[in-house]
């Protein structure tokens, strides 16, 4: 940098240009050195795998024998023979159980705890704690909680004279339990986003609304909800994307059972790829799941963007 200053005035025409150019090239090199590790990571572990999975979905392969190219037949076969359609339905069921309830609970917690009481501060912290729990370890605890004979849930129900079901072996209750585990873990985490949203609403808006004669409920509908839209969008989009990929809880709690009542898409992919060693079919499943998530995410964005623009207009 200070080379330009130190160079004597000899050859004044040439020196600055060469220096500025080398200077620029050096800067670019430094920039790329800084960028290199993460760039390598992104290309190697994100870009290339996406390309690779599409290519693999056109093959039948078990990593040991030569690859067989089969065109698009995997896409038909995973629905006909691997019950992937059923897995998608089951996963959608999970998302429908999980996301609405979790969002409502998170919003409820935020509304409830958005005050200056000391108790509220403590409860806010407690509600967030589960977010750090290892899902696998927590699922083991839930298996114990919901055990038909030794679990506290059925023991409590027995006290009031109800015989609790075999929660994880009954196809009616198995998936709700899987959803419950996820709601319990992430309601507090999502509550934080709603809290931030709530705290960003100017109190003057509420004052104006109440002067106009709006009651608490009307204020909630006309002031709070619309202004929470960004937080809501964030929670919903991230929640849906995450829920479609659920694995840990389904694997430990039910392992896809009873029957295949909780064989979510990711579990089916795992079984097909790493129990059956059918890389091609599993890749086709992954691509389909990707498309499903993509379409739903875009749909969510369009829905919310449209409504938000309407409100502003």
């Amino acid at each position: 940098m200070s080379v330009a200053a130190a160079t004597p005035a000899i050859g004044k025409h040439k020196a600055p240009a060469v220096t500025a150019d080398t200077e620029r090239r050096r800067k670019i090199r430094t920039a790329f050195t800084f960028l290199a590790p993460s760039l390598v990571g992104v290309v190697l572990f994100l870009v290339i795998p996406v390309i690779l999975v599409i290519i693999l979905s056109l093959a039948q392969w078990n990593l040991l024998t030569p690859i067989k190219w089969v065109g698009f037949s995997n896409y038909a076969n995973i629905f006909r023979y691997d019950q992937f359609g059923h897995s998608l339905i089951v996963t959608a069921y999970y998302v429908l159980l999980n996301i609405p309830v979790q969002t409502v609970v998170a919003l409820g917690l935020a509304l409830l705890l958005n005050n200056k009481l000391r108790g509220s501060a403590f409860v806010r912290v407690v509600a967030v704690l589960p977010f750090l729990a290892t899902p696998v370890a927590m699922s083991v605890v839930w298996t114990w909680f919901f055990d038909p004979t030794n679990g506290i849930v059925n023991q409590l129900l027995a006290h009031v004279g109800i015989t609790g079901p075999a929660w994880l072996s009954d196809s009616a209750t198995a998936m709700p339990i899987v959803a419950f585990a996820n709601i319990w873990q992430y309601a507090g985490y999502n509550m934080l986003f709603f809290l931030a949203g709530l705290q960003g609403i100017p109190p003057s808006l509420y004052e104006a609304a109440s002067i106009d004669g709006a009651g608490r409920v009307a204020q909630f509908r006309r002031v709070t909800l619309p202004l929470l839209r960004p937080a809501l969008l964030f929670v919903l989009v991230t929640g849906v994307i995450g829920s479609f990929q659920v694995f840990d809880t389904a694997y430990v709690l039910t392992d896809g059972g009873p029957g295949n009542a909780t064989t979510v898409a990711n579990l089916n992919i795992y079984n097909t790829a790493f129990q059956g060693f059918r890389i091609g079919e599993a890749s086709a499943m992954s691509v389909i799941l990707f498309l499903v998530i993509l379409v739903i995410t875009v749909a969510q964005f369009t829905y919310f963007n449209r409504r938000t623009t309407y409100e502003i207009a």
Binding site: L63, L64, T65, F277
Partner: protein, 448 residues
């Protein structure tokens, strides 16, 4: 402050890295000198005792070879061995059951030991010829036969004494539901008031003891009946399609799911276990709720240890094509990527030899593949009070090999899933067979 915590973390990480050992980082520590350690994988904890005894002898004869037995649970055995082979760490020698034999062969996991057999002048005629055929393909052979098993009928001696019935060994049946077998089964089924199924007062809603427990299984269950009608799961070894949609299959299955079920002489499919898989039958047999249990001889140790009554064994009934039983045997697969091929072959040879099979047969662990050693196993169980000659009669008679093909394991799972509803009475045998045929064909196709 942060620099210090970072430094501490780095030191801790470095310590853990050094403690974690070289293997996890992919660094091989080279040879440890003269002793070679082999890993040998199996799944049966009973037989493991016998194998340990045999291996103790082997290690005495080969002081430079140590063998570690690894017990891998049966439920995930095929998947575990395959995954370990992919990552390069599969055991040097491992049990191979016939459902996976074809897949392992096709994937190149097993060594073709035909040249080694020739070079060492091993006499293959000492083994059951069906076993040698089962594990050969186009001149290659993938393991030395070391045991065999087949299916017969365990029965409750006390129960038959109580009802005053002798258990004959030459019963016969035909597809239309007539024959001495069905008649005998009716005599052996009693309701809670003591009437057997031949009596007009028999109450099918109150059966106390069913005559026979037979179930949805290609080896221990319907497989034998279908074979006795000339039916085959696959038309020939390593076939890429099944031959399920045949009259033999239709009639064989119907005989069990319709005829015998409607006669109330066999345990209803739903009560034998999920998908009629027979999981409950040992319990029912122990409790005296079923008089006869059609099962493979590998269950003998469990039966002896569980039931409180003397047990007899009788042969399967004779069908239209004669008496045919499903015949199977394991081999020790030699890992084609083993780092100790010489030593692994030594172990393979030992386990296929008379010296080793004597130990396993005489200890009552398994029928030895070497024909002349069969009496040892039979004598062991005779001393325990169980007459195993029925199994021998069948083994020396007509047998059909367990089906072998690439993808067979997955195909058999599909077949079991699809035939289950027929056993539970919710679909007809023909539509169940059609579904099974489609799904199994797909499994064989993708396995091939």
């Amino acid at each position: 402050m942060r620099a210090r915590t970072l430094a501490r973390a780095a030191i801790a990480a470095a310590a853990l890295v050094t403690l974690s050992g070289c293997a996890g980082w992919g660094i091989s520590t080279g040879g440890s000198g003269s002793t070679v350690t082999l890993t040998y994988a199996l799944w049966d904890p009973h037989e493991q005792i016998g194998y340990q005894a045999s291996i103790d002898e082997f290690e005495k004869l080969h002081p430079d070879i140590k063998v570690n037995i690894e017990n891998v649970p049966y439920g995930s055995y095929e998947q575990k061995i395959t995954a370990e082979f992919i990552t390069g760490g599969a055991p040097d020698l491992f049990w191979v059951n016939t459902p996976w034999l074809g897949t392992f062969v096709k994937d190149g996991i097993l060594t073709n030991i035909a040249p080694l057999i020739k070079a060492n002048h091993i006499d293959m005629s000492q083994y059951y010829p069906q076993l040698v055929a089962l594990h050969s393909r186009n001149g290659a052979i993938y393991g030395l036969p070391k045991d065999w098993d087949t299916i017969a009928i365990y029965y409750n001696k006390n129960y038959f004494k109580k009802i005053g019935l002798q258990v004959p060994s030459n019963l016969s049946w035909s597809a239309n539901g007539t024959g001495s077998f069905v008649n005998f089964l009716k005599q052996a089924t009693t309701d809670t008031s003591g009437h057997n199924a031949l009596s007009p007062q028999f109450d099918p809603g109150k059966v106390a003891t069913y005559a026979l427990g037979v179930y949805n299984d290609p080896q221990s269950g319907w497989g034998n009946y279908v074979a006795e009608l000339g039916g085959k799961i696959i038309p020939y070894p390593y076939a890429p399609v099944t031959s399920l949609n045949t009259a033999a299959f239709q009639q064989g299955m119907s005989f069990l799911t319709d005829t015998l079920t409607n006669d109330h002489v066999i345990v209803p499919g739903a009560e034998t276990g999920p998908n009629a898989n027979g999981n409950n039958l040992l319990t029912l047999f122990t409790q005296g709720k079923v008089a006869m249990w059609e099962a493979g001889d590998w269950n003998t140790t469990t039966v002896k240890g569980t039931v409180s009554f003397p047990v007899g064994v009788t042969t399967l009934p004779i069908g239209p094509d004669g008496r045919v039983s499903v015949f199977n045997g394991l081999i020790d697969g030699l890992n084609s990527h083993t780092t100790h091929p010489k030593q692994a072959w030594e172990l393979e040879q030992w386990l296929g030899s008379a010296a080793s099979q004597k130990i396993l047969g005489a200890g009552g662990y398994v029928w030895p593949a070497i024909k002349s050693l069969d009496p040892l196993f039979q004598q062991y169980w005779a001393k325990q009070g169980i007459d195993m000659s029925a199994f021998l009669t069948e083994a020396h008679g007509q047998v059909v090999n367990f089906p072998v093909s690439s993808g067979m394991g997955a195909a058999l799972t599909q077949i079991a899933n699809d035939l289950g509803p027929a056993w539970l009475g919710s679909t007809s045998v023909s539509s169940a067979l059609k579904q099974a045929s489609n799904d199994a064909n797909y499994a064989l196709k993708t396995g091939n």
